[in-house]
Symmetry: C2
């Protein structure tokens, strides 16, 4: 298991409710892939969303986000953390 930071683009105007709902959809199915989405941050102005997860692989992160309806191409392992 490793930490991953994934970055969504093109989500201009996203609201707090929409972010919570997207996160809820991830949480509902993440166990199938052994992923856990821990945190998320969004900038509605630029349309950027950052998600922090603990996952077995970047592909597992991608599969959960895709199945939840918000596919992502940019997934970065972040093995070093200060939290």
């Amino acid at each position: 298991m490793s930490k991953y930071m994934d970055v969504h683009h093109g989500m201009k105007g996203i609201t707090a409710d929409q972010l919570r709902e997207a996160h809820r959809r991830d949480l509902a199915i993440e166990a199938e892939e052994g992923v856990h989405f821990e945190r998320a941050w969004a900038d509605p102005k630029s349309g950027t969303v950052y998600c922090l997860s603990e996952a077995p692989s970047a592909d597992a992160v991608k599969r959960v986000h895709a199945q939840a309806g918000h596919p992502v191409t940019e997934v970065h392992p972040v093995p070093l953390t200060i939290e």
Copy 2:
């Protein structure tokens, strides 16, 4: 005060010690700008570092990072958070 995510590039090979030391340098001077750096994540392979802060402005974040010796150009407000 708002949350900001800033992104450093070109830090390939960064070690856990180097990340901790960089964070320590930020913490040592951040109060001058009213900033607090809360978390950081690094990918030594791609050389990317993400820092999460609470700050009065993106410029304040930039000034602290620059003064600490690791200037950053990419600073994104992230007013929506799930933590």
